[in-house]
């Protein structure tokens, strides 16, 4: 705590010096400029807006860009940034690339919004927290393309909050599906969890899904027909403790009681995958290389399996996942940051990103050119995938509920307590 405070102190001192230094003056000029501009160029087009921006730009434009630390990302982003700068020869850019793991993006940005990167790439589950903290700049207008025409409606909608657009759709492949080894498992085997665990037991191998994790656990309950929704005040509605929920939990418990069923975190998964133990596992495009290397010519992917609830086969649902490019609400150069974000998410850039990383584009044109087992599996699962909108109180109780299911401790009481925790009021 102390460390945090000291840094907060330092940060605030810096922020204050910024205020004292130039805050007032800059605000004034900005205000007058805006007023003038509205009068003179009421009917200007977007080209004029960019021309205005170029004309109004003096000196070097500094833009910080944070994206995933993987080598593929860093390389392709560096190239795209250079291309962007080359588009505007009259402007002197200084675009700095920072490596921040996407899972930590929200935490790193919220550490100090004012000092964080101007443009950053983040997964869709962080959108809400970032909007709530006021860290994202609203996409009030677009200048080089219109995402409503170029991108799939689902991704555009996923980047909205309260009816406002906050992110630029970037990739549409951040959901989960089933990887399997087709040399060992047949299509029938991967159709249901019951068949899958039976076959894996027979083979003496492992299959599974990270059950003690709310992100995956949701798929089972949603698939069974339960619901989890978010209220306006960020509290949740959840009915997992009804009869269907109990049946789903008991069914999952009996599936998980199989010796072959494992709930590995990512590290353990990769270790056991390389040992050749895991023959099918629920995961996403971030592990595409690991699975294709481990399975070789047996590498395959498909939609999630079904599971039996009250004797009926139910398709396991999932969260669809997207990545967005966001502009910091406190960006130094809002205009240029927005243009960079647009550039990074246009059709050609998305294609380049797909080629570098294998992640599925959200742009329809780029998507049409992309094809891989993983992306096809995602497309097959997309019918059962839901946009993730859930309040922060969901995760800890859901994780604990998953752990209870794995430990074979499901009861009405456990579900009641979990639902009480998930739906606890937000002050």
């Amino acid at each position: 705590m102390k460390k945090k405070l000291v840094s907060a102190l330092l940060v605030s001192t810096m922020a204050v010096s910024a205020f004292v230094g130039c805050g007032a003056a800059a605000d004034d000029t900005a205000a007058t400029e805006t007023a003038d501009a509205t009068e003179e160029q009421a009917e200007a087009s977007t080209e004029d807006a960019i021309a205005n921006l170029i004309a109004a730009t003096e000196g070097t434009v500094n833009i910080d860009l944070w994206c995933s630390e993987t080598e593929e990302y860093q390389t392709v982003m560096k190239k795209l940034c250079d291309d962007f700068a080359a588009q505007y020869p009259d402007v002197d850019f200084n675009i700095t690339l920072g490596a921040v793991s996407e899972a930590d993006m929200k935490d790193r940005v919220l550490e100090d919004v004012e000092a964080a990167a101007d443009v950053f790439i983040f997964p869709d589950d962080q959108l809400e927290a970032l909007v709530k903290a006021g860290a994202l700049n609203e996409v009030a207008a677009q200048y080089t393309y219109d995402m409503n025409e170029t991108d799939t409606p689902a991704t555009v909608e996923a980047a909205q909050y309260d009816g406002k657009q906050y992110g630029y759709p970037f990739t549409a492949s951040n959901g989960y599906f089933l990887y399997y080894d087709k040399n060992q498992l047949s299509d029938e085997d991967v159709a249901s969890w019951e068949a899958l665990t039976a076959k894996a037991e027979e083979l003496g191998k492992e299959v599974g899904c990270e059950t003690a994790n709310g992100w995956y656990l949701y798929g089972f309950f949603k698939g069974a027909g339960c619901s989890l929704t978010e209220n306006e005040d960020q509290s949740n509605n959840c009915d997992w403790n009804n009869e269907t929920g109990l049946a789903a939990a008991e069914s999952l418990q009996s599936i998980a009681s199989s010796k072959a069923y494992k709930s590995y975190g990512n590290d353990d998964l990769l270790a056991n995958l390389n040992d050749g133990k895991v023959v099918a596992y629920v995961s996403g495009t971030w592990n595409v290389n690991a699975f294709s290397e481990a399975y070789g010519d047996g590498y395959a992917a498909t939609k999630l399996p079904t599971f039996k609830v009250n004797g009926e086969d139910k398709q396991m649902a999932s969260y669809s996942g997207y990545k967005f490019v966001g502009v910091n609400a406190y960006a130094e150069n809002t205009g240029w940051s927005m243009l960079l974000a647009e550039y990074l998410t246009n059709a050609t850039s998305q294609e380049a990103v797909y080629e570098a990383t294998g992640e599925g584009p959200s742009n329809t044109e780029a998507l049409a050119k992309a094809s891989s087992p993983a992306l096809d599996a995602l497309a097959a699962q997309s019918e059962f995938a839901e946009l993730q909108r859930v309040g922060g109180n969901y995760w800890s109780p859901a994780e604990s509920l998953g752990k209870n299911i794995l430990d074979g401790k499901v009861s009405q009481q456990v579900l009641d307590d979990a639902v009480a925790g998930i739906t606890q009021p937000v002050e």
Binding site: A15, Y264, P425
Partner: protein, 470 residues
């Protein structure tokens, strides 16, 4: 109480009996010195007065005036589509208001103290003048900082440091505990405000939805058990190890000692992360145990349930507690061994020799002479390490960052059985941005630690136990 009363009485007396210069000092702080021809001192004092007052009104007043609400104007921005420029209103930042408010209050308090002190000082000089004593010139004053007022010269920097990095952050944290600073109220975009003692009420409340009270009691109990057991085991282990290495029959003393010191050399977090992987549910130790049949054996003797396929070293309550302490013994003993070696070498040999002559055996000597002596010497540092262990973030967090609880009531307040107060607090701030509850927990931890140290230190060092060993 009497002291405080006297403090203000002296001030009143000085004002009432002072001459025109003293009374003028009420307005212009340097006046009293000008009247006694201490021009430089007068100018400095007046400049200080002008500086402080103008900074209070220029810098701190805007924040101080909002301290009661922590700001009312939320950030609003307007983006102009045509110029791609953004206009932002003049918004309040609750965090800055709180911070500068605290500093402002401190400055004002310090200034009032200076003001009162100044009046007393000029009155004293008036007295000295009336009595015909020597009044210091400016050069005399400066020279005095090297002699009779040398302590001021020495202590100025450290005290400023203490105020900046200790007092202000602590006050700041205490204040946060009384606000609603959480994920829905994050500055600079959103405002937070005072909510009284609600956080503390929540911390001690238990209902089906608010489980902080339930979690708090359990986390606190484990924190205290952990701190005492961890300290005691490493301490005893360290002494025994040092005894063993120092024993006359032990060869290659240097080698043994360096072997254990090597464990210190490896950065702790690397070792801990490795251990947490090795002892994971599908880690290398579990694979080994199931291959050689230890897992089977544990199942047979009832330590594990029939269905368990692995040993939950770091994933079940009970198991995790024992294993954390064992791991801590392993990484903590070398430090204690080094400390103990130093002490053992300095035990007065006359006592041990006389005990030998009296026919005491080795164990009696160790138990009756060595241990009390070592305990006496290391007492204060033992308390210190209990406190350190209460806040031992590394060992707990790095070993159990993957721990998942099955206890719904714990999970509902984002805690788990392996958490210490400090790791719980870390998770609340880092993953859930719940700064208000974290501050409340922080204050409680602070109270526990300070109460513990005050109590034990005053017991140990108080009295004249030192005489016993002289």
């Amino acid at each position: 109480m009497k002291k405080i009363a006297n403090y203000f009485k002296d001030f009143g007396y000085a004002v009432a009996h002072g001459d025109i210069w003293v009374k003028l000092s009420l307005l212009i702080m340097g006046a009293g010195y000008f009247g006694r021809k201490q021009i430089a001192r007068g100018i400095l004092m007046t400049l200080l007065q002008v500086g402080v007052i103008s900074s209070i009104f220029g810098v701190f007043m805007p924040y101080l005036s909002k301290l009661n609400t922590l700001g009312t104007v939320q950030r609003e921005e307007v983006f102009d589509i045509l110029t791609m420029k953004k206009t932002v209103n003049d918004y309040d930042n609750s965090l800055l208001i709180l911070l500068f408010g605290i500093i402002g209050v401190l400055v004002i308090v310090a200034f009032i103290a200076l003001y009162i002190g100044n009046i007393k000082a000029v009155y004293r000089i008036q007295k000295m003048k009336e009595d015909g004593e020597h009044i210091n010139s400016f050069l005399d004053d400066i020279a005095s900082f090297k002699n009779e007022r040398f302590h001021i010269t020495l202590l100025t920097l450290p005290s400023i440091g203490v105020i900046l990095i200790n007092v202000i952050p602590i006050l700041f944290m205490i204040c946060i505990a009384f606000t609603n600073y959480d994920e829905n109220h994050q500055p600079p975009t959103y405002l937070f405000t005072w909510i009284g003692i609600k956080n503390f009420v929540n911390l001690f409340t238990t209902s089906q939805t608010i489980t902080f009270g339930y979690a708090f009691v359990r986390v606190l109990a484990w924190t205290l058990i952990w701190a005492v057991v961890a300290t005691a085991t490493t301490f005893l282990g360290g002494i025994l190890l040092a005894q063993f290495i120092n024993h006359e029959d032990t060869h290659f003393k240097g080698m043994w000692r360096s072997l254990f010191v090597i464990t210190i050399g490896i950065p702790q977090f690397v070792t801990l992360l490795l251990i947490s992987k090795m002892f994971g549910d599908s880690g290398i130790v579990n694979t080994f145990c199931s291959n050689v049949g230890i897992t089977e054996f544990f199942r047979n003797i009832g330590l594990l349930n029939p269905g368990d396929s692995f040993i939950p070293f770091l994933s079940k309550p009970g198991w995790v507690h024992v294993n954390i302490i064992l791991v801590n013994i392993w990484i903590g003993i070398p430090y204690q061994m080094l400390v103990a070696t130093g002490i053992l070498m300095n035990i007065p040999s006359d006592q041990i020799e006389s005990a030998k002559i009296d026919g005491a055996n080795k164990f009696q000597i160790f138990w009756k002479i060595t241990m009390p002596y070592v305990l006496f010497i290391t007492g204060p540092s033992l308390i210190q390490s209990v406190i350190q262990n209460i806040n031992n973030f590394n060992v707990i967090y790095l070993l159990t960052y993957n721990y998942k609880t099955t206890n719904m009531a714990m999970a509902n307040s984002h805690a788990n059985e392996a958490d210490l107060l400090i790791t719980w607090l870390f998770r609340l701030t880092n993953e859930y941005s719940n700064f208000k509850m974290a501050s409340a927990i922080g204050i409680v931890t602070f109270i526990i630690c300070s109460a513990l140290s005050l109590l034990t230190f005053s017991r140990m060092i108080g009295g004249d136990k030192e005489g016993v060993y002289r």
